[in-house]
Amino acid sequence: MINKTVANAAEAVKDVFSDAVLMFGGFGLSGLPENSIAALLEKDLNGLTCISNNAGVDDFGIGLMLKKRMVKKMISSYVGENAEFERQLLSGELEVELIPQGTLAERVRAGGAGIPAFFTPAGVGTEVAEGKEIREFDGKLYLMERWLRADFSFVKAWKGDTSGNLIFKGTARNFNPMMAAAGKITIAEVEELVPAGELDPNQIHTPGIYVQRIFQGVNYEKRIEQRTIRKS
């Protein structure tokens, strides 16, 4: 088996360059590659295009990269939780492409799967369809969407092994598996890194073939956006 282990986040992100296209797994703040983001914040980067379902909050996640003006463009489905984001967008410093969430997920999946384009009904008749090819199949209208791929993908898993196999936990899986497959260089951070052979091959969510670097993450904050409880 091929050993993909690197020492830490700093080593994992060492060759990330300005103007690169980056993908980040996570939905809201759940399943976010916290360590990689922290390491990117230590680097002198700008002009980045970030593909991520959300843009973090002001003081966590991609929000911190926005604050440091590292990001030129965001490609997301929902960006509502971030005042700095709003400020940069309104001032024209930040470019934003909003994509229906399922289309975003499928465009990233297509990127990893070598499918340059596909048809989806999401957005037909809306401004999302502007400039896109519309076609009828079996009496229903669909629009053509292109794949998305990245120079670097950052994903976060629950468990991983040295050959890059990943297992996610709960709804922290979300965009992580597709983004792992769609990055030229995919960097995985895990809560628990084990030797190859310790994970059940039948339970792997992301096969190691998609992962170029893996490291044991540290100090996970796993911040909760909407702490909602019932009276027990």
Partner: protein
Amino acid sequence: MLSKDQIAQRIAREVKGGQYINLGIGIPTLVANYIPENLEVVLQSENGLLGIGPFPTEAEIDPDLINAGKQTITMVKGSALFSSAESFAMIRGGHVQLTILGAMEVSENGDIANWKIPGKMVKGMGGAMDLVASADNIIVAMQHCSKDGKSKLLKECSLPITGIRCVKKIVSDLAVLDVLPEGGFKLLERAPGISVEEIIAKTEGKLIIEGEIPEMKFD
């Protein structure tokens, strides 16, 4: 006029046993509280879960288990977890049979607008465009009129739309209406104390009224 909880309660009556259902943020989330316990249904969360359970107790909270509104949740027995691509494969493939969501406007041919107000900060459509383009049955929970009294049931949507010809039924604070395939809002029920005349006055789009319109009853 129906309260938000009464709108949710009324929508819950549309739910059938055996259905897989996606509930949007806001009033639709409340629908879960009114689905009879003997109906076997499964709630889907588009961030990757089939089988949403109640909110957790303080002890049960898990940051790796949230719903599409980013709220902490629990899972019921028989749940399944999956990726966002699988989740929207389910939605797009028509496997999630019923979608209940809010709307700012609905047109008489079933177009819905619920994601963007020109001049205001755009937050994004999230999964709404996928959901309305996919499910066989789409029910909207909404206020009949805006705060300044303008009808939100229109001939044509004035706001940027989320999807075309998709809404099948509306439960507003004033009425229950079907959106007919050939176009038009067919009045089915009135909210307690609301007259047909008031609904006529507050519905800009084509309203179809046949026979006596019953008043909704709540326990």
